[in-house]
Every structure is written in C-alpha cells, then in structure tokens.
Symmetry: C2
Subunit: 536 residues, 2 copies
C-alpha cells in the first residue's frame, strides 16, 4: 500500500503555471550561457560535502556568493556544489576543489571546470511557507526531501525547516507525506514473504535491551522480524553496540534479506544499510538543539519500519521521572498518533506505555547487557528485563494473530523456558558471523572494577537513567565493550550504610577513575528524603 501511495507523490513533480515554466526556462537558458571557466586547484582533503571554493573577486564579478549553489561541468560529468568564497585559498581564475568533488568529477589540478549558475532550490520557498504557518502539500514535502538528498539545501535552510516543523507543527497528511518521502529516499527490504513484524522503543531507559530478547522469541514463533537498530548517541549502548559483542552487525540490505529469510530474525546496525536515508541527514540537524517535533519523530520511526516492510509493530513508550516522556497524557497522545498514522501507512501498531523511571536489567554497557540477555534467553536473568521482554514479544505475537488475545505472554515465557528462544538467538548469532556457543561468562568484562556502596541507610527512591548512562559512558561504554555499570539494587530496595549499590567496570584504570568522579557529580542512586525543605 505504501508504494502505490508514494507513487502519487513522486511521479508528478511540481505543479507550476505555464507562464512561470516559461520564465524559469528562459532564466535557466540565460544562466547556462552566463557561465565561467576556472582552473582546478585540487585540495587533498575529504570534506564529506560537495563544496568548492571560488576566488572572492571572481565570485563577486559573477554574482555568486557563499552558500550559493553552482553546477560544475568537467568533460561529461556534472555535479551540484555549494560555494565557499575566499580571497586567500584560491587565486583569480582558480577553483578550489576538495577531493570528494574532484574524484566525482574526475578532475585534476589545472583541469578546466565550467561553472554554471543555478536557480535556488524550490524547497527554500516551501520552508519559508512552513515558517509562515502554512501546511505543505505532499509534493512540496517530497521536493524538500529530494533536494536534501541531492545536497541542494544548506544546514541553515534545513535547520529552518526543522524549526518551522517544530514551531508550526505538521498535520497528519504532512506527516504521511514526510514518512513516504523518507522511505523513498533510500532502499527497501522486500522479503516477499510475511507476516513481517518490528518493534521500536522511544528510548531513554538505561540497560533496556529488550530487543535482543524479543527478536529471538518472535522469530522462533515463525514471524519475520528483520530488526535494524541504532548505535548509542548519548546513552551507554544502543542495541547495535550490544549485539556487536555477540556477532557482526554491519550488513547491507541484501544480506539482511538473506539472514531474515533463513532465521526469520536478524539484529543489525541500521546505519550500514541505505534505508530511510534522508532520516540520518535530518537527525544530524535535529541533534544540536534536540528538536524532536512530534510529526518528524513519527515519520522518522515509521519510515524505518515501512522501509523494511513491517506490517505489525510494537512501540515501547517508557514514561516517568528520568525518562524521555514524563507523563501519561503525553505518552497517550504520542501512542495514539503512532496507531493512527501507522494505520494510514498500512501498519497495525500497538503502543505500549511502560515504566521508564529506572534502568531495566542489571547491566548497563555492551558486555554487561549481553550477559543479562543471554541469561534471560537461557531461562534466568534479571526479572525486569525478562518480564518486559516477554510482555512485548507476547503482544507482537497477538498483534500478528499468531496466538489468541491474552495468550502471548505465556507463549513468550514458554519459549524462554523451553530453550527455543535461545536456540533461535544462537542461529542468528551464527548467521551473523558470531559464536553460537557463547556463554554469559565468556563475555568480556572490564578488568578494572570499583564497588559503590551506600553512604547511609534508607530506601532507594530513584535510580537515574541519565546519571547511570553518563557513568557507564565515562567508564568507556559503548566503545569499550567491557565497560559499564552493574546494578545490585532496584528502586524500593532498603539498604544499610555500606551496602553495595552498584559496580563500575572499565578497561583502563584512568577511565575507572574518571567514572568514580562522575559518580560524585551525578549521584545516580537517591535515597528517600523525608524533609524536602524547611521554612520558619
């Protein structure tokens, strides 16, 4: 269904009047003639962007300014690049060409390049309209995403787009158009079989490695679940970082297909494939201000699910103190949007609002989390990780219709007890190049350890996700696979002075020392206070 919908947006192009078309054509012809020729000065640096440097005087004379786009021609090759201007890097008649652009154009120092002015990207006008509070058509949104993919929009323009979506919001139709444009910006996984399920967590909870338990259970039940995950940005580990302890996670879309068709499930790093490609570029712009406008968050997540062909999706929305979403009303609104937008995209979605006010599992950090996961898959492990994973897996099985309403969790727990989930995990690990005979005790744990104890007695009132993540990161996670935090307590436990709270593991002494200092700054385990303030 998505693909036929998206064709409506894509094929048509922009609707403009005949008069405007003729004016554009005339302008274009004029620009094409108004070109100038420069001599290449190759700069032996990769920038990751299409940037060229023009001489300031040349640029002025040709009415080109920093940030303008030009079309470069060299023999048979053409490329759109963004202009930087300098009076020092290049002399008159020269064009500074970084190695990215040079190799794409097959250009060497002293070659001649032809520079042609370009019209402004159409998206700039649409971004302005969004800032003015207008709703954009699906064609306009598609144009912005297509121009983003062609590197025709600068960071300033994209930041303005995100800000516009953040302040003005986007409606349902706009969200769907954005989702489809993001799907179309990359490749798709087409398994040719079904049903295909997927899961996603909004994030923010330390140690919440349910994916690595849910995928084997669901796959063991015969449901396809080609799970792609991210790496950590600010947390101690992403699923891709942790899975990497057990197996390779770098696979392209053809390899993901092969693994999924064999094992029903896979757990790989999403960044290694080219699905929902525009989303990575948007996230890079959203990151500095942590701008997560609702519609864009929905589109970002649903595009990735849609691109792998998932029709049944469980969304985990953790709430509470220290979680990303603080209260029930906000979680309900978001959960409802997922269901509603998902339906229009042809997906059946269940939003599960979960308690996210403390870490899940004992281990936080790649190796420590894998220990928990293996123990759970082998029938033991921390009960919170075990229960939450069984709940999520069970709901997915019910959603797909594999089991009756209310039977899912029992079936999931059975799979953990009877070894089928672990058997499936071993199969996936082997297909992804890891050791299927791995044991929890084999896993690398940092050789430097410090045990943090309680400075007084009392009841634990809060264990802070951010603080625990921060300490684990400073200890070396997720780069150092053995680094992290092992929690000995959960919220509500009563402790005496000197009781163990948690262990910190690191792979170097220095990192362990820094992590100890971080404990002092973040103080992640809080004991109940009775006196909250005093006035007289």
């Amino acid at each position: 269904m998505e693909s036929s919908n998206s064709k409506n947006h894509n094929g048509n192009g922009i609707v403009i009047s005949q008069e405007e078309k003729e004016k554009r054509k005339k302008k274009e012809e004029l620009w094409k003639k108004q070109r100038y020729i420069c001599q290449v000065k190759k700069i032996d640096l990769k920038t990751g962007k299409n940037i060229v440097v023009l001489n300031e005087q040349d640029a002025k004379e040709n009415d080109i300014y920093a940030g303008y786009r030009v079309n470069l021609k060299h023999k048979e090759r053409e490329l759109v690049a963004i202009v930087d201007v300098s009076s020092e890097m290049v002399g008159k008649g020269e064009i500074g060409v970084f190695s990215d652009v040079a190799s794409k154009l097959h250009a060497e120092t002293d070659d001649l390049i032809q520079i042609v002015h370009m019209e402004k990207p159409l998206g700039i006008e649409f971004i302005k309209r969004k800032l003015d509070g207008e709703s954009l058509t699906s064609t306009q949104i598609t144009t912005i995403i297509q121009e983003l993919m062609r590197n025709q929009l600068s960071e300033i323009e994209l930041a303005s787009f995100i800000s516009g979506v953040y302040t003005r919001g986007i409606g349902e139709d706009e969200t769907i158009a954005l989702t489809e444009a993001i799907v179309d910006s990359g490749e798709r996984l087409e398994l040719g079989v079904g049903p295909v399920a997927d899961k996603h967590c909004i994030g923010g909870v330390a140690g919440n490695r349910t994916t690595m338990v849910v995928v084997p259970i669901v796959a063991a039940a015969g449901i396809y679940i080609p799970k792609s995950s991210s790496r950590a940005i600010t947390s101690a580990a992403g699923t891709a970082d942790s899975m990497e302890v057990l197996a390779d996670v770098n696979f392209n879309i053809a390899e993901l297909k092969e693994i999924t068709l064999k094992a029903h499930g896979a757990m790989i790093w999403g960044g290694g494939m080219n699905i929902a490609a525009a989303d990575d570029k948007l996230i890079k712009i959203r990151h500095p201000l942590s701008l997560d406008p609702r519609g864009m968050l929905l589109a970002s997540i649903l595009a990735k699910k849609s691109a792998v062909g998932a029709k049944y999706v469980a969304i985990d929305i953790p709430i509470g103190r220290g979680a990303k979403i603080l209260d029930m009303p906000k979680a309900e609104a978001l959960g409802g949007d997922f269901i509603h937008i998902g339906k229009r995209l042809g997906m059946t979605i269940e939003s599960l609002i979960t308690d996210g006010s403390e870490p899940v599992g004992n281990g936080i950090g790649c190796g420590l989390e894998c220990r928990d996961v293996i123990e759970v898959l082998q029938g033991g492990g921390p009960s919170d990780l075990r229960n939450k994973s069984a709940l999520l897996a069970g709901r997915l099985l019910e959603l797909v219709g594999k089991v009756g309403e209310g039977e899912g969790r029992d079936v999931a727990e059975l799979m953990l007890r009877n070894g089928k989930a672990w058997g499936k995990m071993a199969e996936i690990i082997e297909l992804q190049g890891g050791n299927p005979k791995v044991k929890a005790d084999d896993l690398p744990i940092g050789q430097y350890k410090h045990t943090v104890t309680s400075s007084r007695g009392g009841k634990i009132s809060h264990i802070d996700n951010k603080g625990i993540n921060k300490i684990a990161r400073i200890a070396g996670a997720p780069q150092d696979k053995g680094a992290g935090v092992f929690l000995h307590r959960v919220k509500g436990d009563r402790v005496k002075e000197g009781d163990v709270l948690f262990d910190i593991y690191a792979e170097s002494e220095t990192k362990l020392e820094f992590a100890l200092k971080a404990v002092d700054v973040w103080q992640p385990v809080e004991l109940e206070k009775f006196l909250l303030g005093t006035m007289r």
Copy 2:
C-alpha cells in the same frame, strides 16, 4: 543613555541557583581532567572559522561528536573550536588544524595540543525556549549574542534562533535587549559633539541614491551626520558602491570620527568598521531564506544608528508594487515600531512612508547614479531624486530643530540651489581621498551601450525595481562602475512604438549581450493592459 542601560545587561551574567552552580563547577572540573592530547597535522587552508578535525575513532572514544565544541590548549594559548570528524583526513592521535586556528594557537605540525571537553553554550537552551514560544530576558538575549561573537554557536543553532524569532516574534523588551547586545558587540563612534543625525532606507527601490544628496545638505546645515552604508547584495548598487566612484569608502572608526568632526558629514562603507559586529553575522544566517523578522530588522537598523551616536533619525519606508513593503498598513506598523523602540533607546525618529513602486532617478548602477547625484547637488538632475532628497533632508533639519516645522524642505532646496550642498559634497569627497573637482561628465560610463525601445504604443503602467536591478547587475553592476541602466521614462509616460525606454551600459560586450537577454526575461517596463482576462 544606551551605554548605561546596556551595562545593566552585561555585567550581571546569568542567574543560576547555587546548587546548579556547584554541579556545573564539578562537571567542569571533571571535563578538564578528561582531556586528551593530539599531535597537530597542520592543514594549509584558511576557513574563516575555528574548526578542527578529529579522528573518528579518537572522537568516539572521547565521547566527542561533529559539531561539539572543544577547548584547545597549546602552551599558553587557548581557543574554542568546533569539531569536525573524519576517518580519512587525520589518523589516530592526530588533530587536523586549519591555518586560522594554527596561527591563533601558534601551533605547527607535530606540536602537541590538549583537547578539553566543554559544556554546551548556554544560548542553546535559550534558543530552544524561544522556539517554544517563551519571551527571553535581556540577559538571555545578551548571552546568545555574546556566544555568537565567540563563535560558540553553530549555523544550525543560529538558524534555529532566527527561525524562532521569525515564527514566535520578539516583544519590545526583547527587541531593545537585542539592539543593545548588537551595539555592545562592536565599537562605538563617540564624537563628543552634537546633534548627530542619521538616515536609513528599508531598501528595494532601484536607483534610490538619496543618501548622497541628503548627507551634504544636512552637513552643510551644521548637523553631524556620520553615515555608514552597505554594499549591494541583490540590488544594482549600495550607497557604499556608488560613493566609491567619487572617493574612498574604506575607513575605520577613528578615521570616520576625524572626517565627521571636520566636515560634519561622511559617507563610508559600514563593513570596514567594527560597529554592530553581531549584525553582520546574523544577516549572513538570515540571507538564504530572506528571513526579516520584524524585531530583528528593527534591532539591526537601530543598533547601527545607536552605535554611531545618532539621536535624530529619518527612516525611509518605500511601499507599493515591486517594493519590499506592499501596503500602507504594514508600513505604518513598521514605522510606528521604529518610533517607539527608537524612543526607548533615546532616539527621536521620523518614519517617512514613500512611493516605492518605481525606480528613483534616471541612472541605476554606480557611475550612472553618481551622475544623477552630482547633477542634483549642482541644482539640476532628475526631479524625483531631487524632490525626495530635499524632503528627507528637510524633515531631518526639522527633527533636529535646526529649522521650524514646515520650513525644512525649502531650506534644503535652497542649499541645492545656492551651491552649499555641492560645496559640502566636494569637501567630503576631498577628505575621503577623491577629486573634489569631479564633474558629472567625467564619470566612467560603460563603452558598450544598447538602447531598448518600446515594441508597441501605450501608457507605461509599471517599471519594475527587481527587473531593472537584475538587468543592471547582469550588465556588470556594482562591480563594473560604468555598468547599469539609464531610464528615459517614468511611470505614466505615453510612448509610441519605437520610442526609447532605457539604455543599458556595460564594460564588456559579453555582459551587454547577457543583459539584453535579461531584458527579454524580466521585461521591466510594462505598458497598460486593458484586457486582463477573458471568460466565456
């Protein structure tokens, strides 16, 4: 008055709780210890920004990402730089240092540099609050502008700030805080004498070179008018571009003071001085989307006036088809804001709403405009330029109290007739290093000329500012001082087929050819149409 006000904002710093302060201090100490040392790989390029390139693996291990800020230390020197990350440009343990940063740090290849994590700039939080619709305090706005000046905010963050101000608006107090922060970001002109007057035009009208007539009249009347102007961005000429035909315009603030104290007036390029420095940086971000949020436009203009000590200011707001502001209600709202905000900044402002629906003067382009100006100053010249300039100069004289209400225009016209205005202009030209004996006929006019005639008879209903500017620019303006358009007609003239409409001048045959093609695209002179559409 401004300077005492602005001290209130600056000295105080940010008000944060004692607890937060201690947490910050602890974090800072932790970061300081968590440094790493890299070996310099000098990259022989100027970028104009403080950017360093870290090895991708190193960066990850140290929890640093592209766009993060780090503090660099090399011997006694320190510098804040923005991080770029690459796996190809630099190897492990290396830091790529562009020549801007290398020279500031006195660092050479193989030197060791210490990298220290930094807290996020405070402004990021305030920008987010603006996007959320909050009003910012003057301290918060000052912080954003100070961090902007220290290059601590990225283009993404600044574009989000501009977008926030654009979509959410800023109130009166915020506008005043922004104006004062912009004034404080640069130097000030302190003449020590008075009264000091100034003028400003919102722009958009081709050939509107009134400044070059108003300044000599006002200065001749004994009023100080240290006028700094901009160069053209998208128009055929800015006042600085045109004045440059007659004299030098590159002066620093000390030189501006000297010229103004001698001649009462000066006409220089604002970019050569360091006044209202933050404004240039903001304009660079506003330019790609042409975002001119009202409060920011007011702050931008009033900061420049305040920084040169102007107490009496005339603001020219041209309106009509083809002008920047389309109708009277918008012009009145803007004009009222100028008066009101100006008053709170200690300025007496008159906003003059003028007809901006067609070009002013005959010449469009630097040399051609100077011809008009000299002719007007010598008692002749095009009547529209003459009348508008006399009106503006007259109002300024009344505003300062030099002449009685309603007498200004007559006095201004007298100054044009009795040669005092031209005498003052000659004095200013001489002080700015030009030839005071210059004649209109001496001025360089492009040797390649084409005369455009009317293809049919009728009444001229519109002469389009944008089209005329575009043709003049393609002919070479403002770089080629002799390039431009000379209008033979004004709106309302009746022409026959074959009658001359305008001449195009260029300094090269190729540019003239392009300009002719541009005439065909933009068709800047419209004849009255009776049939606007037909239906049946």
